[in-house]
């Protein structure tokens, strides 16, 4: 495990710079800011506010803000440019010419991206959930914290793969994937939505946060929730993560990356 330790230490030294800490704070502040605005600027229509199921509203809001947006954004920023960063900084050659250097580099980057996004998400969640002022806030926190871990784990693998396939425009392709596949395809009631992370996360959210019968019967979600108990969904997420990570490794090993500076013959 020595190479993995070295890679994690190397990545941490990059993450613990002033610039990256500011980004971490911005990321953690995002759900706090949005939930704060919702709390302190209530609905203008009192009737609508009275009819609102506040547990349903707050649990969905926090779910969308933390596991879906904060986690995805966090790993997008750190795992997406995994290869391009090394190519731009010309450090790829050092890592790639070590025995299994590419393997440990990707794994180290994955672990640090996961930790970076998860800590930001859970920190943001811990404050944001307080704004909900719900009796069920602990249940919401537990559900969303667990989902944040799973979301960061899965999205990091997806974005790492995208960053390996498209090192030149990794961030752009990650955003496109997040919007198209996770935002649209995951809601399509067809077999294809099973390959999306969001499909499983949403199902787990409904099972864990137990936001009430009204959620389960929302027309938009009727066909886009998976069947089966929570551990099956987690197994799916673990399997998807393993497949994405393994594919990223295969792609990174098979591709012939050259940085601009060493692209001469």
């Amino acid at each position: 495990m020595t190479p993995l330790q070295a890679m994690i230490r190397f990545e941490l030294s990059r993450v613990l710079t002033a610039g990256r800490i500011v980004w971490w704070l911005i990321l953690a502040s995002f759900p706090i800011l949005i939930t704060g605005l919702i709390r302190f600027f209530p609905m203008s229509d009192p009737a609508a506010a009275r009819n609102l199921d506040t547990h349903v509203f707050w649990s969905w809001t926090i779910y969308l803000l933390v596991p879906c947006i904060t986690c995805a954004l966090g790993v997008l920023l750190s795992a997406g440019p995994a290869i391009s960063t090394e190519l731009e900084q010309r450090s790829w050659v050092y890592l790639a010419t070590r025995p299994n250097g590419i393997f440990w580099m990707l794994l180290g980057k994955y672990v640090v991206a996961f930790c970076w996004a998860t800590t930001a998400a859970v920190a943001g969640l811990s404050v944001a959930v307080l704004f909900s002022m719900q009796e069920t806030l602990f249940r919401i926190w537990m559900a969303c914290a667990g989902l944040s871990v799973l979301a960061a784990m899965s999205y990091a693998a997806v974005f790492l793969l995208i960053g390996t396939i498209f090192p030149q425009r990794s961030m752009l392709f990650c955003v496109v994937w997040a919007g198209f596949a996770e935002g649209i395809i995951s809601l399509i009631p067809a077999v294809i939505n099973r390959i999306t992370v969001q499909y499983r996360l949403r199902t787990l959210f409904v099972q864990w946060a137990r936001p009430g019968g009204s959620i389960d019967t929302l027309p938009i979600l009727g066909e886009s929730l998976a069947e089966g108990p929570w551990y099956i969904q987690i197994l799916w997420l673990l399997s998807l993560t393993a497949v994405f990570l393994a594919t990223a490794q295969v792609v990174a090993h098979r591709r012939e990356f050259t940085s601009a500076a060493e692209s001469d013959v």
């Binding site: 020595t2 070295a6 030294s13 450090s91 050659v93 050092y94 070590r98 025995p99 500076a261 001469d264």
Partner: protein, 309 residues
């Protein structure tokens, strides 16, 4: 025994052929890899390191197949890249330690080796500074240290002396010689600085247009086509020249104390010594004529151009 054996290796980048049916054997000692820009030197190094795959052909590096055993090859090769590249955010010693750890050396041992290697490379307290603050010479030393920290059997150095001042250049060449001569490591030096090759290499490989145009021992390469020996004397040269002519040698008097004797050194030198003994002439210096490496290099490239045309 050849450490690198490549047979009819070809590498295409799309429609561009970077390596064209290259066959090469490189053994121990220090080998200079020369060639003009675009000759295929960088691609050859990447092939050896397994960073790119051959389009066709076969080869072995340190007895390992370049197609199937690239991990094993990398574990036994040290590579010093030419680019001004380093691991951002780390200090000098951390960079070398990390390079060692990535070669599966445990953290404590990696740190010990990092210090040992940096001492060998002549890096003092500046090793604790982040690499972004390093000068060109210090970065060069750092890259060298990272290449050798895992004690590789084969060392590939890409432009190891470029950007160094004369003192640092000499020190770097000395380090390379120590590794090759005292520690028995095979070294490939890829460089454009021909005097460096002439100074330290045992063998020279010249590439042009993706092919090897010359692969020969440096001594053989530098042996003159018109061999002669320049003789510096303590006494008058003209009378000694007569003695040599009487012994059947062709001689030109260069000035009053030196002359040139034509013929291969191994044939002419015994006769020169014999004549000096008989004539009781003191010889101060004997200098066999040599072809410059630059001439050899240009001739090898021109041969390749002619073959292409």
């Amino acid at each position: 025994m050849a450490l690198i054996e490549l047979d009819d290796v070809t590498k295409d980048y799309g429609s561009f052929r970077a390596i064209d049916g290259l066959s090469l054997r490189i053994g121990g000692g220090i080998t200079g890899l020369l060639g003009p820009n675009g000759a295929g030197k960088s691609t050859l190094i990447k092939l050896i390191l397994g960073l790119v795959r051959c389009s066709s052909g076969r080869g072995k590096v340190l007895g390992c197949d370049i197609f199937t055993e690239s991990q094993r090859i990398r574990a036994r090769i040290g590579y010093m890249p030419e680019d001004d590249c380093y691991l951002h955010g780390l200090s000098g010693v951390e960079s070398v330690q990390m390079a060692a750890q990535l070669s599966r050396i445990p953290a404590t041992e990696a740190l010990r080796r990092a210090h040992e290697i940096l001492d060998f490379c002549g890096m003092g307290q500046e090793r604790y500074r982040t690499v972004e603050t390093f000068s060109t010479g210090m970065r060069q030393k750092l890259r060298f240290a990272m290449a050798i920290v895992h004690d590789p059997e084969l060392l590939i150095l890409d432009e190891p002396t470029s950007g160094l001042d004369p003192e640092e250049r000499e020190a770097m060449l000395n380090r390379i010689q120590v590794l090759a001569r005292r520690m028995g490591r095979a070294v490939i030096v890829c460089t454009h600085i021909l005097p460096d090759v002439q100074l330290i290499c045992d063998r020279v490989v010249i590439m042009a247009a993706g092919r090897v145009t010359l692969n020969e021992d440096l001594d053989v390469v530098l042996r003159s086509n018109d061999p002669s020996v320049t003789v510096d004397l303590q006494d008058d040269a003209s009378s000694f020249a007569s003695a040599l002519r009487n012994a059947g040698l062709r001689v030109d008097v260069l000035n009053e104390r030196s002359l040139r004797v034509f013929g291969h050194g191994d044939q002419t030198l015994p006769a020169v010594w014999q004549a000096a003994h008989q004539h009781e002439t003191a010889i101060r210096r004997l200098i066999p004529s040599r072809t410059s490496l630059e001439d050899v290099f240009l001739a090898a490239i021109q041969d390749s151009d002619r073959a292409d045309s």
